[in-house]
Symmetry: C2
Subunit: 168 residues, 2 copies
DNA sequence: ATAAAGTTTCAGAAAATTTTGAAAGTTCAG
DNA sequence: CTGAACTTTCAAAATTTTCTGAAACTTTAT
C-alpha cells in the first residue's frame, strides 16, 4: 500500500470507528489527521485535507481540546492557531476513557446502586426479579468500572496490561 | 424509590446508555425490559410497555436474537411468540463483546497491521511520522484487543476480573 | 380450503445528528 | 483608533438514523 492510500484509509477507518463508538466522524478524522501529521496544522489545513467547513473544524477541534487529546500551539511570527495531537496513545486513551466513563458509565452505575439499595422494593415476584437483576448488574458494572479506572484512569494502565499478558 | 419509578428510570437509563455506545435506544430498552421481566413477554406486551410500533419491536428483537442475548420462547397453548432475555450478565456481555469487537475493532486492527507491515512507507519525514504512529496504534490496539478477548470472549472473564481485583 | 392469528417487510415519515456558511466577534499591528 | 487577519457562533440545510403503519406473508385450527 502506498502512503497516500494508507493515509486516506487510515483517516476514513478512524472516522468509521469513531462513529460506531459514539464519537462523531469529523472529530475522529481530525484526531487521525493530527496524529500522523509531522507538524502542527491550522484550521485551514484541516478544512482542506478533510474537505469540511470552517465551522465544523472549529467545533470539532474545540471538543478535542476539551477532552485534552489535542493541543493548541502558536507558531512564532504567525497569528494563526495551530493544533497538534497528543501522540502518546496511552495518554490520550486515558483521557478519552476518563471522559467517557464519567459521562456514560457513572450515571448508570449510580442509578443501579441507588435502586439496589432501595428498601422499598421486594415483595411481589415481579419486584423480586427486578431487584435480583439490578443487583447483578450493579455488581458487574462496578467491577467493569473498577477495571476501566485501573486501565485507563491510572497512569499504570500500560503496566497493568503487560502484567495481565504475562500472567494469563 | 418506588418500584414503578425505579423500573421506568432503569429502562430509560439503559436506553440512553445504549445509544451512547452505538446500540440503538429501542434495542437497549427492550433488553432492559426483558431482563427484569419475571416471565416471557410477547411483541404486544413490549409494544405496550415501551409505546412503540410493531415494526420497531420486530426489528429490534430480531437483532437481539441475532446477537444471542434474547431468546424466543413458545408457550404451550398459545400461538404467539414470547421472548426472554439471557439473564446471566456475563453470558450476554460476552456475546455483545464478541459481536462488537468483531464488527468494530477487528477491521481497524487489520488495517493498522496491514499498514504497519507495508514496505512502501518510510522515506520522507511525513511518512516516517505516519509509520511511527501506525506502529504505536497497532501495538496498542492489539493489546486492548487481546484483553477484550480474554475478558469477554473466553468463558474465564469473570475469573480474570476477580484475579485482577485480587492482585492489583 | 379458508380464515383468523400472528409475523415480517419496507417505503415513507419523523426525529436526531451533523454540517454549512455567513455574520458577529476578537485580536493586534500600525 | 482602524482595519485586516483570524476565530467563534448559530440558524438553517443536509444527512443519517430510527420509527411507523399498513400491506404482504406465514402458520395453524377447523
Amino acid at each position: 500500500m502506498k502512503y497516500g492510500e494508507a493515509k486516506e484509509k487510515f483517516i476514513e477507518t478512524w472516522g468509521v470507528l469513531g462513529s460506531q463508538w459514539g464519537i462523531n466522524k469529523t472529530m475522529a478524522q481530525i484526531q487521525a489527521l493530527l496524529l500522523i501529521a509531522p507538524k502542527p496544522l491550522s484550521t485551514d489545513d484541516i478544512m482542506e485535507e478533510l474537505a469540511i467547513s470552517r465551522g465544523n473544524v472549529n467545533m470539532s477541534i474545540r471538543q478535542l481540546v476539551d477532552w485534552g487529546i489535542v493541543y493548541k500551539k502558536n507558531l512564532a511570527g504567525d497569528r494563526k492557531e495551530y493544533f497538534i495531537a497528543e501522540k502518546d496513545v496511552w495518554k490520550w486513551s486515558h483521557k478519552v476513557g476518563a471522559v467517557r466513563k464519567q459521562r456514560e458509565l457513572n450515571p448508570a452505575i449510580e442509578l443501579l446502586k441507588e435502586i439496589a439499595n432501595s428498601k422499598e422494593i421486594g415483595k411481589t415476584e415481579e419486584e423480586k426479579e427486578f431487584a435480583k437483576q439490578i443487583k447483578e448488574l450493579n455488581a458487574f458494572s462496578s467491577q467493569i468500572g473498577d477495571l476501566a479506572d485501573k486501565l485507563f484512569l491510572s497512569p499504570r494502565g500500560e503496566l497493568l496490561l503487560k502484567l495481565i499478558k504475562m500472567f494469563l
